[in-house]
Each structure stands twice: as C-alpha cells, then as structure tokens.
Amino acid sequence: MNLAIDVIQALLLVAIAPLVSGVIARAKARMQNRRGASLWRPYADLLKLFRKQDLVPDTACGLFRLTPAILFAVTVTAAAFVPVLHPSAIFGMSGDFILLVYLLAIGRFFLMLGAMDGGSSFGGIGASREALVSALAEAPLLLALISVAILSHAVSLSGMVLCTVQQYPFHLSAVYVFALGALVLVAIAETGRIPVDNPSTHLELTMIHEAMMLEYSGPSLALIEWASAIKLTLIMALLIGVFVPWGMATSASITALAIAPFVFVLKLTALAIAVAVIESSIAKLRMYLVPDFLGMASALAILAVAFTALMR
C-alpha cells in the first residue's frame, strides 16, 4: 500500500512537471498584461518534439545522444526521493539528501559535456557558466539541508519531513528561517530562473541553461526540457515538504490520502505563482554578480548550521 502511494507520487511529480512550467509562464504573462498561452502548452510542445527527427552535429559522438537519456533517468530517479503525498517516498528512507544532491550533479555534468560535444562556442558558453553557478551553489545547498537534517536528527528525506510534520507550526526552530532563505536563493540558481538565468531568453549572450541545449532537437530536446521541468518541480516539492508539509497524509486513512493531493497542488500552485512574481519583478543579474548572489546564500547557510548548535 505504502509502495503504491510512493510510486504514484513519483509518477505524479514526473507527469505534473510540464504543467508547473505552464502555470509559471501563464502567471508571468498575466503580470505583463498579456493573456498568455494555455496551461497545457508545454505538453503540446513535448508531443511535437517527440515526433520530430533527432539532428546530431557532425563533431558529436555517442555521448551527445546518450546525455538526454542519462539526464532524464537521473532526474526521474531523483524524483523518487521526495515525499509528496505522505512523508515517505520510494527512496525516501534508504536514500538521503546527499545522494539526492549528487544524483542531480550527474545530470548537470553530462549536460555540460554534451554541450561541449557540439563543437560550437555556445556550448562552451553554457558549460563554463553552468560550471561557475553549480560550483558555487553546491556548498550552500548541502549546508542548508545539513542544518535541517541536524534539527530533525535524520538524514533521510522522509525523516526530515516527518520531523517537521509532527511539530506544531509555531514550535519550529528559528533555524528553519535561515535554511529557507538559503534554500530559496540556491533553488533559484539550481533551476536556472531569474535573477540567475533567464529560461526564456533568445540572446545567447545571456544564456546559461539554454546555451547547453542549443544543439539538441527532436526527442532529445524533449527529454532535456522535461528533465529540467521535473527538476524544478522536485525542488519545489522538496521546499514544500521540508518547510510547509502540513496537509500530507500522516495516517493511512482514506480521507487523509484524498485530501493530500489537493493540498499539494494548492501549495505547488502558490509556489509557482510566487516564482512568477519574483521573475517578473527582479532583473537578471550580470554573470559576474552571480557569485555575489550565491555568496549571500552561503552566508545564510553557514549561519543556519551555526545556529543549530548555538540555539540548542
């Protein structure tokens, strides 16, 4: 029974990912006084791409075609870590947040390599900038999650979520505020949203993630876009699960299980609209100011870890 729910919630994350992108795009359009495209447009995009040919540059070798498969496989496996409907997941107990972070790193590394395989300057641009952002974002991400893990005395994700769920909202320690601040900044960097990267830009000079997938087309491009949408959704689900998990089904009763999906979708929509608001109100940072941005996240994360000991 538990395993069935775990599988359902992993599939839910994978299936709902393009819808989340659609919601964010629609909310941004509304803020710009446009009507915006339909919420289901990303699904149509994926279908269209799956039916097309796969174009491969002549300099590329097997690694180029293997990268989208690796990225997608790793991201879907990572989605199996995050508790969504109830405080456990397929790898929720046996896996821990360290494994989750490094699994996502596999995808990023191969995406960088695939970008350089194209043999054009744009791949190099994307890869070197992504190297900068990911090198500096890894430390605050791990430190912030470590501070939450220290507080919940558990390293597995389901342990962390369980600890938060069982507490009354107002009994939470103040460390969560610092960890939340650091994680929000890092999440913006990891998922490539404004102010770190513009996901809908056409100017190669401003691209980070887009430049890495510039050479891909057809089903490979569909897999990469889907994988980045899944990554965005799973990081949002992680934030929701660790910081505001109330509403998850803590018991196996039918009512709890029926309410949980609705509550989750509600929270996810609220977070998506928040992302859209942030993206529409702040300008994208110049690339050499991104280390500054991530430095602030690091300072917050270091404070979060220090406070777990100071506020014992």
Partner: protein
C-alpha cells in the same frame, strides 16, 4: 596480491623476519592495515605494469628500456617494503629507496636543465620529510626497548604528553611532505608531470598513499589519538590543501600538471576524513571515528584507482596525439573510443558522482561530518558540519575542472593536426585502463565488498568493540539506485528515433573551425575571476603602436602565475636561509691558525661546562 587479498579479507597476519641477515632489525609483518595498503599497491601496480609493457616498447629503446624495466618492479617492491615493514629500519630503508628509485625513473626520461632542477627540488623536499620521519621514530627511543612496531606501540601509552605532541607534529610534517599537504606540496607539481606516465600513475596513485599509511600508523596505531587540537590541525590542513589544490588545478592546461594538482586536492580530502576521526576520538565518539577513518581509507583506495586510471589515460593521449596541452587537443573521444570512455569513467569517479567509486568515500565523510553536530562541545558541533560545506565546495570546483578537461580534450573539434590524426593505442594499454575503470564502477555500485573489511580494519586500529551504525547503509542503497537509473536509461534510449547528422549550426556562417570553440583558459575564466585573490597573476600588456592610434601593430599579453606559496612562503624562507649561510661562511676563513683557535675555544668551553654541570 594474493597475500594481500588473503590477509585483508580473512584477517590472519603474516610475519617474516630477516633480522639475522641484516645488521639492523629488519622484519616484515602483514597485519590488516598493511594488507589493505598492500592490496592498494598491487591493485594499481598490475594494470600499470600491463600498460608499461607496450608504453616502454614504444617510447624507449635499448639501455633506457632495460633500466626502466629494472627500476619499475624495484620501485613497486620498495613501496611494498614500506607498508609491510614492522621495524623502523625496514620502514626507513623502503622509504628512502622509494624516493631514490622514483627519481631514477624520472631521470630516465631525459635530463635537461629544467628537469634536473625539478628533480633536485623533489629530492630535497623528500629528504627533508624523511629527516622529520626519522626524528619522530627516534623520539620513541627513550621509552621503547627497540625500534620495532610492537614495542613502539606499547611505549606510546606511557609517554608524557609533550613527547607525544612532538612525535605527532614531526610525523605530520614528515608524512605531510611526502603526501603533499599544502605548505609542503611544492614538489608535487614539479615532479609528477615530468615523469613517464606509468611512473606518474604509480607516484600519484600509490606513493602518496604510503605517506597516508605512515601517518595513520603513527597517529592511530602508535599514539592512539590525542587532544582535540590535533584533529583541528589535520582538518585545517586538509581543508586548505583540498581547496588550493583544486583551485590551482582548475587553471592548468597541461594535463599532467592538472592531474598532479588534483592529487593534492584529494590528499586534502583524505586528511579531512582523518582529522574528523581524530576529533571524534578526542570526544570519545568511537563509532563515528570509525566511520570517518573508514571513509578516509576508502577514499585513499578510490583515489589510487581513479588517479592512476587518469594518468594512464594521459599517457595514452600523449602517445596518440604527441602533446599533453589540452589547448591543442579535441575530438579524441571519437578517435580513441576505449581510452576516452575509460578517461570518462575516471573523470566521473574523481568528481564524486554516485555509481562511481569516488562518491562512496565522500558520502561517508559527509555523513560523519553531519554526525559531528551531535557532539556536546559547541565548537565541534559547528566546525564539523561546516567542513562538510568545504568538502562540497571542493567537489563543486572539481566538477568544473574535470568538465573542462574532458570537454576540451576529448569532445568537440580537434584543435591541432596531431589531435586530428590520433588513433587508438595498443591493446595492452587499453586493457589496463579498462581494468581500472571497471574496478571504479564496481566499487561504485557495490561498495559493500570494500567497506565491510575496512570497518574491521578500523575496529582493530581504534580498539573499540562498537559496532558500526546505519551510516554504512549506502551499500544497500547504491545497487538499487544503479538498477533504477539503468532501467530508465534502457527504456528511454531504447526508443530508436530517426537520426540525421548535420553540420553544427553556425548562425549562418559558412563553417565552424576549431578555433571558434571554447579554449581551456576561456572555460575556467569565470571561476578564475571569482577566486582572483588566490591566483594573483602578474599581468603585463605590451602594445606596439603603429601610425594610427587605434590599430596597434602588435599587442603582447603575458600572464604569469607563480603560485602564491612560492612567492610568499618559499622565496622569503629560502632567501633567509641563503643569507644566514652567507654570513656563516665568514667563519671559514681558510686560515689554519683560526681553525686551531676554534678547537682551543671549544676545549675551554668544555672545561667550563664540566665545572658547572
């Protein structure tokens, strides 16, 4: 190798005593720790020997090849001697032999002025380190009956704290010089790149680990841990070494120099684990001390495997493309599939990606750091988790560094004619690299077979009956993850789609050439700029103006990086020593009567001393 495997997994010790043959006591024992390092040496030595069989054929001839084949097995034997020695004499004999034989092997490759300078620095620093090690052995003498390991172990328990501290510091400096801790790492980037590739692989993969063996033997076996500041010192050394090593590696474009700096970084990571173990021991948290120690030792093994794989790959690359400058390489994966794939496995392992072996050691280290927060002392509870952040930063920069290496050297378009005409290397070289790559992946997916014997090693060293805890659950999770990823990949990649090969889109330009790709300097520029305080390059721009002011005839841009250590630590120290030596030179006047005066003065001083003593 059979002996090693037997002792490691079964746990019986072997002993060999040759004292009757030699003037000093000379005995060899293989206990569990030695067996582990013996396994490490042999696991790397066998593929390297296989690799050298065709490498030596192609590169050397006649006397050089013969001396190569003479010295290489002797070098391996000297390392075996070091880890199996059970008397101080045997240990030091092997230690000195290692240095001399490796210097000899480097000398075989040629002795230009620069090479001799580098070898000189190498020998100088190694002997300085050996002096410190000999001193730390000798400090046991007042308390130990003889200089074999069992009596030293027994004596250490009854020594005063000051003596223990002195031994610890001396062994830290001595073994640290050999291992490449940051103030003493200067020889590493000078010696490793100029050696022939199999020798580089052995030096970087195995010789550094003998220093780790020595340090572990001294600190954990003989001295049995100490006050908490020992752990902080080792942690600090490990953090600084790891960070500086990978930052310097990021900016290099000579493949072997980059790998040498990356060895420095990994030694730093191993020292981080050892430092954490010392801190846990000082706080009596034996279970987590065991985990940290296992993590450090496992990372030593993993590093030996993937670093030798990478050096062998570099040797294959230099064989095929006749250059090691990655700015002149490119597109090698298409032309050398086996080498390229093995190198890719090595890169993934060194970064610490899951399903490859580098991840397991780092994971265990991170878990032990997180557990440090449960210690009662507030400073430990803050510092240990923050070290996890340092480890994450080191890992992040390593990803950038090796993405650069593989992306520029193996992917894209070839940047020189030699790279374009590169072909796959000889079969035995390929087999050697594949063996190492396979072992990396195997340990990455099923770490249990290495982790469980290592916990027994740690248990013996720390003398605790405490059982390891759930921190070792990674052995169960990783095969599941591997299965999951594998299944998904097959599902996704299995959908055969129509593929069409086209030229890369060049924004409408007729064609892209290899100069339009990113270069190594360009790739590392963002990170170089972020960490510009560390690098402090000396930049000169010479502009030669022609008649018109905006179109100069030529612009020359030079950026020279002397590592900040050379500038701020070594040069002043060397200058001070040379100054002092010049002043002392005045004592040697050459005048016979002055020398007689010295003897006369010494006699008077002795008489006075005897009167008052």
């Amino acid at each position: 190798m059979i002996v090693a495997g037997f002792c490691f997994w079964r746990g019986d010790g072997l002993a060999l005593d040759l004292s009757r043959l030699t003037p000093f006591p000379f005995a060899l024992t293989v206990d569990r720790l030695s067996a582990f390092f013996l396994l490490l040496i042999c696991a790397v030595g066998a593929p390297v020997a296989l690799f050298s069989s065709s490498y030596v054929e192609r590169h050397y001839s006649g006397a050089k090849a013969d001396s190569m084949w003479l010295l290489l097995p002797l070098f391996l034997l000297s390392m075996v001697l070091v880890v199996t020695a059970s008397t101080a004499f045997a240990f030091l004999f092997g230690w000195e032999l290692m240095t001399l034989l490796s210097a000899g092997l480097i000398l075989i490759d040629g002795d230009s002025e620069r090479r001799r300078h580098n070898i000189f620095i190498y020998l100088l620093m190694m002997h300085a380190g050996a002096a410190a090690v000999i001193a730390s052995f000798l400090l046991f003498l007042p308390h130990a009956s003889s200089l074999d390991f069992t009596s030293m172990r027994a004596a250490a328990a009854s020594m005063p704290a000051g003596l223990r501290t002195a031994i610890f510091l001396l062994s830290f400096v001595g073994f640290g010089t050999k291992a490449g801790i940051v103030p003493f790492h200067l020889w590493l980037p000078k010696a490793h790149p100029i050696a022939p590739s199999p020798v580089s692989a052995l030096m970087s993969g195995v010789m550094l680990k003998t220093a780790i063996y020595g340090f572990v033997r001294f600190t954990f076996d003989f001295l049995g841990g100490g006050p908490i500041w020992w752990g902080y010192l080792v942690l600090l050394a490990g953090a600084v070494t790891g960070l500086l090593g990978i930052l310097y590696a990021l900016t290099e474009h000579d493949l072997k120099l980059l790998l040498a700096y990356s060895s420095v970084e990994n030694i730093g990571i191993i020292y981080l684990g050892l430092g954490a173990a010392l801190v846990f021991m000082a706080n009596n948290a034996w279970a987590w001390a065991m985990v940290a120690l296992v993590a450090a030792l496992l990372h030593a093994l993993n590093h030996a495997l993937f670093k030798s794989l990478l050096f062998l790959g570099a040797g294959a690359v230099s064989d095929a493309a006749h250059t090691l400058d990655i700015e002149l390489l490119g597109g090698l994966l298409k032309r050398m599939r086996v080498t390229g794939t093995a190198f890719l496995v090595g890169c993934c392992s060194i970064i610490g990606l899951p399903l490859f072996n580098g991840f397991v050691g780092e994971w265990m280290m991170l878990r032990s750091f997180v557990a440090g927060s449960e210690l009662p002392a507030i400073s430990c509870a803050i510092i240990l988790p923050l070290m996890a952040g340092v480890l994450a930063l080191i890992g992040g920069i390593a990803v950038a560094c090796f993405a650069k290496v593989f992306g520029i050297a193996f992917l894209g378009r070839p940047r020189s004619l030699a790279a374009e005409q590169a072909t796959e290397v000889a079969a035995s070289m390929q087999v050697a690299m594949t063996l190492l790559a396979a072992s990396c992946v195997m340990i990455g997916i099923m770490p249990g077979m290495m982790v469980s014997p290592l916990t027994v090693v740690a248990r013996e060293l720390l003398h605790t009956p405490t059982l390891p805890n759930a921190a070792l659950s990674i052995s169960h999770t990783l095969p599941l993850i591997a299965a999951c990823v594998g299944v998904l990949m097959i599902v996704v990649a299995g959908f055969r789609r129509i593929k069409r090969v086209t030229p890369t889109w060049a924004c409408g330009l007729p064609a892209l050439d290899s100069r339009m790709q990113y270069s190594s300097a360009a790739f590392s520029k963002p990170l170089r700029k972020t960490f510009s305080r560390v690098y402090e390059a000396d930049r000169t721009v010479d502009v030669l103006y022609a008649n018109q002011p905006y179109f100069p005839k030529s612009i020359l841009y030079r950026s020279v990086r002397t590592t900040s250590f050379e500038r701020s630590l070594y040069r002043p120290a060397v200058d001070a020593i040379v100054n002092m030596a010049t002043r002392l030179r005045k004592l040697q006047t050459g005048n016979m009567q002055v020398y007689l005066l010295y003897i006369f003065l010494a006699l008077i001083a002795l008489l006075i001393f005897m009167r008052f003593a």
